[in-house]
Every structure is written in C-alpha cells, then in structure tokens.
C-alpha cells in the first residue's frame, strides 16, 4: 500500500501527461456542448418576446416587434450571434441575461455557491449516515438489524425527493410551526447560523436517497472485502475485530463509494431543480430551468457551459482520487 520514494518520483511525468491529455479533451467537449445548446434553445419555438409578453405579444405591430427584436439582438444572423457569444466566452464574458439584466458570469457566481453548499452538505450527511450503517449491516449481516437497515435503504431509494421534501415541509410548518426558508434565503457569508438552518432540510432531503445508495454500496463491498484473505490474515494475527474493520477492511471497501460520490457530486452541482423549487433556494438548477422557460439565451448557454465544465472537472478529479485510494490503478501509459 505505501510506496517508497523511489517508486513515486518517476511516475509524476506520466500523471502530468495524463492530466494534460484530459485537459485538452475539454476543449472539444465544451465546444460541442456550446454548439448543441446554442442550436437547441433556438430551435424550440418561442423567443424572449413571447416568453415575456405571453399572448399579449399578438398585440404588437410589426414595427414594435422589430424594435424589440433589435433590442434583444435577435435580428442578427444566427452565425454572427454564435461568433459574438463564443468570442466573449473565450475571454470569460458569457454575455448579459435578458431577464436579470446582469452579466451571466455574475449570476453564476451568485448561484453556484448555493448549489455547491447544498451538494456538499447533502453528500456529507449521506456519508455520515450511510457508511456507519453500511458497515454495521455488513458486520451483522443477516440479522434483524441488517434487514432493518436494508429496508430503510430501500425506502430511501424508492421515495422521490419531492415527496420527502414535501413531507418535511408539511411536518415543519404544521407540527413545529416553522419554515426556516420562507423565500428569505440568506447566503452563508451573510449569516452562517441562519443559512445552515435554511440549508439543513433541503440537504437532508437530497442526502436521504443518496445515503441509501452509500449504505448499500458500503455494505456489499464490505461483505466482499471481509471475505478476503488479507482480512483473514489480520484476524489470524489476533487483531481486535474493530481494528480489522476500521484499519484493514474499510479502506478497500470504500473505493467504490468514492466513485459513487464523484458521480453524484457531478449531478448535484448541475443544480437540483426540484429541491430548489420546493425549498425556495436560489441555486443553479432553478436559474437554468427558469432561463429556459424565459428563453434567456445567453443565460442558458452560459449556465450549461459552466455545468458541463464542472461535470468534466469532477470526473477528472474522481479518476485522480481513485488512483490515490487504489494503488492498482495508475495512469501511466
């Protein structure tokens, strides 16, 4: 498991080359995503004028419509629109949102921390609950406890987030008479206490289903590892069971959980529209979905590009962490 100095050093250039290769692969992915989104959002019927005016748009004269089209920059050829946007995107300027009247980068910078915090809290909660339960279920497998935890996990997997969220909100408001976030969300840096109080229930809602996956994954891989020779050896040496599990078995059993967390983070960082809507959180998911329904082209393009970049980056990160946790995996050659 531990490697000598002599072994690690020569490996570095390969890791660096691997990193560079992966980073180069970003470019075509991002160009592809941007082209796809740019075209798709324009192909669906409706534009920012009908999205804002609704059926009242029918009351516009041709001259009025033209004036609005030029105001929103819709009168320019599509190719020119893309070229302008792409040129801006390279310099970090993703354009201005028609709905918010602010630069897209500013909006993402404002919303992404909320989503990031929610995802981190949900994953942390899920790990705090899922891993201990998974270990216990594996150690006591085929007992009543194991059965109970597995049932719980099943419940977590089959209950959709909006149901859990709605139940939580109902309980909070009718039984406890509170609703920590009633549309008055505060950022963590403004009031950490209140912010955490507002975020904890959405995080539980999001983390609930994920903790079930973590628990099931931990349990099954723990069961597998516990049957391995080296664990038998450790036991044979007379180590206490607790030490065998925490020091020897757990580390290897957690490898698949790392992958799971990576994939989940990738999805969560794209925003979770339903949870954000239910709990009135100003996250990335709501920003993007609203932008689509309002045909806020610049915002849709910018937000999607950002989410795609995050997703790709997280994937890379997971692969690297994976190599660190499991020495059998290396990226040289």
């Amino acid at each position: 498991m531990e490697r000598g100095r002599g072994e690690v050093l020569p490996e570095r250039p390969f890791v660096r080359r691997y990193l560079l290769q992966r980073l180069f692969a970003f470019l075509p992915i991002l160009i592809g995503v941007s082209l796809l989104v740019f075209t798709a959002i324009r192909l669906i019927p409706g534009d920012v004028i009908t999205a804002t005016l609704g059926t009242e748009a029918g009351m516009l004269t041709d001259a009025q419509r033209e004036s609005l089209r030029s105001y929103y920059g819709l009168d320019r050829p599509v190719v020119e629109q893309y070229a302008r946007w792409a040129a801006g995107a390279i310099t970090g300027d993703l354009g201005v949102s028609t709905r918010h009247g602010k630069p897209v980068t500013e909006l993402i910078g404002d919303r992404f921390p909320v989503t990031l915090q929610l995802a981190l809290m949900a994953v942390t909660l899920a790990l705090l609950v899922g891993i201990p339960l998974g270990i216990l279920a594996a150690v006591r497998h085929n007992t009543i406890f194991d059965l109970f935890v597995r049932m719980l996990a099943l419940a977590g997997l089959v209950m959709p987030g909006f149901l859990v969220g709605t139940l939580i909100i109902y309980l909070l408001s009718t039984v406890f008479g509170v609703l920590p976030n009633a549309g008055n969300f505060v950022r963590f840096n403004e009031d950490p206490g209140l912010n955490l109080r507002q975020m904890i229930f959405p995080a539980i809602t999001l983390g609930f289903a994920f903790s079930a996956s973590v628990m099931r994954m931990t349990r099954s891989s723990m069961l597998e590892v516990l049957g391995d020779d080296y664990v038998r050896t450790a036991r044979g040496k007379g180590l206490r069971e607790r030490r065998v599990i925490t020091q020897h078995a757990l580390r290897n059993a957690l490898i698949p959980v790392v992958t799971l967390v990576g994939v989940e983070m990738g999805y969560l960082l794209g925003g979770t529209f339903i949870i954000e809507t239910l709990f009135s959180l100003p996250g990335l998911g709501r920003l993007l979905v609203n932008a689509i329904s309002q045909r806020d082209y610049a915002l849709v393009q910018g937000a999607t590009l950002f989410i795609a970049s995050v997703f790709v980056l997280i994937n890379l990160l997971v692969d690297l962490v994976y190599a660190a946790v499991d020495p059998r995996i290396s990226y040289d050659r």
Binding site: A57, S67, G101, I169, F185
Partner: protein, 503 residues
C-alpha cells in the same frame, strides 16, 4: 453497535433542534409571497400579471379600479367626456411628487402617452390608446385628449398599469429596465429577480397611507410551500393561483382566504378556419355536448361559476339564457347529423400548468365530446411553445385561460372586430359582431351599452367560435392581523396602501 446508533440519533436530534429553532421578526413590514416573479420593470411594456403586481405599487395611472370595478380617481381627480365622446378632459391631482422628488404635471401625462404610442417602445397595450389623435395641456393640471373616433372604453383602458404615468425626465432618459420612478404608495428599493423585491413606504404619497413601513415580496416557487410558510407564520400575505392549493385553506380558522370571482375566463377556443370547425352546426354541437359545470367541477373542484363571454359583474347575464348552456346531447347529435360531418378527430393544444387546471379541463371535455363521436387529442405544450402556436393560429382547438378587462370593448376588440390584432387567432368575424362592437364603443350611456353587449354575448355564444366555460376565483390569503386589504377581481395589490398590521 448501539454506540454508533446513539451517534446517529444524536445527529438527528441536533439537526432537528437546530433547524426548527424559532426565528420570528414581527416588524411593521408586510411580508408577502408568490410563486412567479416580476419579469421586468417597464410599466408600459410589461404584460405578465406577476410584473403588474409589483408595478401597481410603484406607478399610478390617471384612473384606477375600485374593488367593484368602477372607475375611480388616481392621479386624475376628475374627468369628463364631451357629448360626442370625441374628447376626454382630465383634471390632474395637484401637489403629487414622483419618487425622485420631481413634480407631477400635465407634461408627464403627455410624455407617457407619447411613449406608449411610439412603436419603438414596443408597448403591447398601445392598441388600446390608438384613438388618441393629439393631446393639449391648457395648464399644468389639465390634459385634453382629442380622439380620432368616439371612444368611451378609453377611460377604462387608462385604468391599467400599462397606462401608468412616468416622469417626463425618466422618459427622456429612456431606460426603464433598472429603476422605477413612479408616484405610487411604495418606493422600489431593490429587486433581486427570482428571490425578493423590497419596497419602502412613500411618505410623500398623496393618499392616506401607507400604514406599513414597507413591503417585502418574496418568490416561493412552489405554491404548497407558500401555504406552509403562511401556516408557519413566516409570511403575512400570499398570492395563490392553484385552486387545488387555495382550497386547502377553506375551514382553516387561523388564516383568512379571499376568493373573488375573477375577470379571467376559461375557454375552449375552436379554429373555424379549419374543417370541420368551419361548419356552424359542428361548433354548436360541441357547445351542446359540453356540460360546463362538469368541467368546472372536475378541473377546479367547483371553484368558480359557469360564464358567457363577459365576466364583468356589471354586464352579467344569466348564462342559462345563452345558446345550449344546458347540456343537450340529443340536440348535439341532431346538429351533427344536420351538418353532414362524419365523426372526426381534433387536436387541442394545452399549456403545461398554465393554468394549473388546463389539463383536467381538456380531459373532461375530451370525455364529453366522445359522446357525440368527436375524438379530442390533447397536445400538452411548454408555455412558450403554446404561446407561439397560439399566436400563429396554428391549432384545431386550444384550452386557454384568458385575462379579462373591466370594459367589454377593451376585453374583446382584439378578438371580435374585423380590425382586431388577434383575428389571426380567432379566425372568425361577422357583420353582427363588428357592428355591435362599434356601437358599444361609441355609446356613453350605460343602459344602452348593457343592451348592446348582451346582444353581443348572445350572438357570440350562438355562433360558437369559442366555447366559454367558466371563470374561477382570484385567491389571496393572509394572517388575520393583516387589516385593510381589498380583494378584487383583477388581483390588484394597490390597496396595500391601506393595509396595516394589527398583531
């Protein structure tokens, strides 16, 4: 093992204790919530109801509507039409100031209507003010509108957020997207789209009030969560759209639910430019086959009343006097047979969740039309896609919730006059409709107008280009300590100026 479980239980207990810790602020700011947010700040171009709810607190028109929809003074103290209804003279309120401190004068009124009528502004409401040929300002507090045609409904059309008076300086500066300088009871301090809008009381307001320090408008996108916030006492006031959510408050003693019959109406719009809806008997057969009360009961839990074209209380006519407003299957079958049209299929476009009852309405109609051999295919669409198709007249039938107006002419000129902007959507006009609308526009006497528009309604329901179904309620809900709010058919929040919090 139990040690580990104890850790878990402790975690849960800490989270619960922490998360449910009480945080109450009982200030003198009215906190309200709604699901949809303002889409922009320009009072002349914004048409979304969500935008109007904010702008009507900040800007004021010359005249406004009382809860009974009668026209009452706002920035104009009085007005008179000439006998031929060709000029409208407005006498303005004196001593009114804009939020930036400048004085309100006749010049601002002229600048406002010039802006609305300028096509470059892109104001959809422009069509309502086209009869204004010129404006004179004999003095600072009088404006004379010289009209190109007799136009009685112009006055009601002016009782709209879209005819709000902006200051001539703001109009000259040209940008309405970031600031809102009006004369209204509240001053816009901050608008964070999709989150919160903060307003403070205008101490210089000409009327009596406001009695609160300000208004905080929050966006809570899920209406069930709005209800939860009300029950938890976190908000004072709520706008509700979905009857299925609002009715959960019926019988709840701790909160006040206001349900006012709405001007907006639910309607099945047929497209008479497409066969076989071009055949009068076919449209009439469909009208006879539909039990409107059943649509209302199924889709809206009976929250509303069956209606004809006009939902304005002053023009109300007993719906049972309209053509086939009592379901008559035999007659429907007779009409189908007389039309010579074989059983057919038509597609109805339905907007997703707009209104929330749309899909249920379509399903109820679908089941009822099946009884006379008409197959209705439901095509659910995302709202903007729906609007796009609708504006192009690209549908066999459309399930719609249309907004109403306080005057029958303003409400329907766009649809049922030969020059109407939305003739491309209705695809139906006849001599009777055209002449009745023209007569109603020029007639100043109410009794005579009532007679004209009753004929209009009866004719329209008989030729059945659209099948009017029902009108629901405008819902607002608030804590019992919110005193002075005047619920009304247009859902206006203007009476927040009169609201006080008596905790």
């Amino acid at each position: 093992m139990f040690k580990s479980l104890r850790f878990l239980f402790l975690l849960i207990a800490v989270v619960l204790a922490f998360g449910t810790a009480l945080a109450q602020d009982g200030g003198n700011t009215l906190i309200m919530a709604r699901a949809a947010d303002t889409t922009g700040l320009d009072p002349h171009t914004q048409t979304a109801f969500a935008s109007l709810r904010l702008l009507e607190l900040v800007y004021e028109p010359l005249v406004t509507l009382a809860p009974d929809l009668s026209i009452v003074p706002a920035l104009a103290e009085s007005w008179e039409f000439s006998d031929d209804a060709m000029t409208l003279t407005m006498h303005l309120r004196q001593g009114v100031k804009f939020h930036d401190g400048s004085d309100f004068t006749a010049a601002d009124v002229v600048a406002t209507f010039t802006r609305i009528l300028d096509e470059a502004t892109g104001a959809a409401a422009r069509a309502n003010y086209l009869s204004i040929a010129s404006m004179d300002t004999p003095d600072d507090t009088t404006v004379v509108f010289n009209l190109s045609t007799a136009d009685v409904p112009l006055l009601a059309a002016m009782a709209s957020v879209n005819a709000s008076i902006a200051s001539s300086e703001a109009i000259a500066a040209g940008d309405f997207s970031a600031t809102a300088i009006g004369t209204g009871p509240f001053i816009l301090d901050e608008w964070v789209p999709e989150e919160v809008t903060r307003l403070s009381a205008n101490a210089e307001w000409w009327g009596e009030g406001p009695f609160v320090d300000g208004v905080e408008m929050r966006v809570i996108p899920d209406e069930a969560s709005i209800l939860a916030a009300l029950r938890a006492g976190e908000i004072d006031f709520a706008l509700l759209n979905d009857p299925l959510v609002a009715t959960l408050l019926r019988g709840d003693e701790s909160l006040v639910l206001n349900a006012v019959p709405a001007l907006a109406y639910h309607v099945l719009q047929l497209n008479p430019s497409r066969a076989p809806m071009d055949v009068l008997e076919v449209r009439q057969a469909m009208s006879c086959a539909i039990d409107r009360q059943e649509v209302l009961d199924t889709a809206s839990l009976g929250e509303g009343t069956v209606t004809g074209p006009l939902t304005i209380p002053a023009y109300h006519v007993d719906p049972s006097t309209f053509f086939c407003y009592t379901k008559d299957l035999a007659k429907a079958q007779e009409l189908m047979a007389a039309s010579g049209v074989e059983p057919f299929t038509l597609k109805a476009i339905v907007a997703n969740a707009e209104p929330p009852t749309a899909l249920s309405e379509a399903q109820s109609i679908q089941a009822q039309l099946a009884e006379i051999g008409i197959t209705l295919e439901i095509e659910p669409l995302e709202l903007s896609v729906y609007v796009d198709r609708w504006l192009a007249g690209d549908f066999d039938a459309a399930v719609a919730l249309n907004g109403g107006r306080p005057d029958p002419y303003t409400m329907y000129a766009r649809y049922w006059t030969s020059a109407g902007n939305l003739q491309v959507v209705t695809n139906y006009i006849d001599e009777t409709l055209d002449s009745l609308m023209a007569a109603g526009r020029a007639e100043p006497d109410f009794a005579a107008r009532l007679d004209i528009f009753t004929q209009f309604q009866q004719h329209l329901t008989e030729v059945s280009p659209w099948l009017w179904l029902y009108s629901g309620y405008e819902y607002t809900a608030h804590q019992p300590y919110v005193v002075g709010f005047e619920p009304n058919a247009t859902d206006s929040l203007y009476s927040f100026a009169k609201v006080s919090l008596e905790r």
